[in-house]
């Protein structure tokens, strides 16, 4: 096993542990994340398997396949984060609006408005 393989496997394990430890999420997410980590470790530990899959899909090397899939995955991630951000903005706006309306200060002066609009 080469040093880079050890490093990458360690990284995958650490990320998995941190995810399980810090982020509470749905069981489905956890299972998916676990499978992804296992896949990463396997790809790193057995590059020849990755190569075989790559060849099957018409990609030259396993590493290239990982890059392509990685970029696609990141694009999806970016999109889902962006969507979530927009949703958060909507909620935040609603919150600030309600607070502003609740704490609204009414005019202090006497009522005007005896005048009649020209129309």
């Amino acid at each position: 096993m080469t040093p880079i393989q050890i490093l990458l496997i360690l990284a995958a394990v650490v990320v998995l542990l941190v995810y399980f430890n810090r982020l509470r999420s749905r069981l489905l997410d956890r299972v998916l994340f676990f499978l992804l980590a296992v896949l990463a470790v396997v790809m790193v530990a057995r590059p020849d398997w990755a190569n075989a899959v790559a060849h099957f899909l018409g990609v030259g090397r396993g590493a290239d396949l990982v890059v392509y899939l990685g970029i696609t995955g990141l694009a999806f991630l970016w999109l889902s984060l962006y969507t979530r951000q927009r949703e958060m903005d909507v909620r935040l706006t609603e919150l600030a609006r309600r607070l502003a309306i609740l704490q609204a200060e009414k005019p202090k002066g006497k009522k005007k408005g005896k005048k009649v609009s020209s129309e």
Partner: protein, 235 residues
């Protein structure tokens, strides 16, 4: 001629004024409106300057966003509040003093008489008005007119004119979700989608050094376009 509309008290007309960092001019903008006896709702959109302090002793409804959300969000907060206060008619009015109060009756007239649900201000209907528009801005605005047409199907003479008048019902039905400057286009989209009747009315825009400095710049237009595009794709 239709039926004469019942007299409307100015206090039933709610002028909504979103304000962000308008400390230097906010009082000058509001004073004549207060004189006319309109009900006024000012939303301080999380200003970093003294805007809120300057509002304290004025005869207006004061709302404050805890942090800056954008002009569209401030406008919607103001309208929601005004409707809850029983507003019969809503007038949108910018805080920077670019609009003239003399144009308000003209905007309200078609809305009160029932000829339209929404009256949109335009600085390109009277020669005297558009002659004061700086040439580069004329070009930019006409470009925005075309973009608005592409996105909403409404061809107007002006774009991003903050002066509008709405019936209560129209104000209830139009719900702004665009927090930023894209709300100007969003209003048109909803007018179209909801089948509201609109009309353009002449308004004069006062171009002062202050309003030119604070007004929308070219990159704003780009931001707005991206906002609208993203919305189209993601929703």
């Amino acid at each position: 001629m239709g039926i004469m509309p019942a007299a409307v008290r100015n206090s039933e007309i709610f002028v909504v004024v979103p304000a962000f960092n308008e400390g230097p001019v906010i009082r000058a903008t509001l004073r004549p409106l207060i004189e006319l006896g309109y009900s006024i709702v000012v939303v301080d959109d999380g200003s970093k300057d003294q805007t809120w302090k300057y509002l304290k002793d004025l005869n207006v409804h004061r709302l404050r966003h805890s942090f800056n959300l954008g002009q569209g969000a401030a406008l919607q907060s103001a309208v929601s509040y005004a409707l809850a206060q029983g507003a019969k008619y809503i007038v949108h009015f910018d805080a920077d003093g670019q609009h003239s109060i003399e144009d308000i009756p003209g905007l309200l007239a078609p809305v009160i008489s029932g000829r339209a649900d929404v009256a949109l201000g335009s600085r390109f209907l009277r020669r005297a008005d558009w002659e004061t528009v700086p040439p580069t801005r004329r070009l930019l605005l006409k470009g925005a007119v075309a973009v608005n047409w592409l996105l909403t199907g409404l061809w107007l003479t002006d774009a991003h004119n903050g002066a509008r008048a709405l019936t209560r019902r129209a104000a209830q039905r139009i719900v702004l979700r665009e927090n930023g400057f894209a709300h100007a286009t969003e209003i048109l989209q909803q007018i179209r989608a909801l089948g509201l009747r609109h009309i353009e009315c002449p308004t004069r825009i006062r171009y002062t050094d202050y309003s030119l400095l604070k007004g929308q710049r070219f990159w704003h237009a780009f931001d707005v376009f991206v906002d609208l595009l993203i919305r189209r794709v993601l929703r």
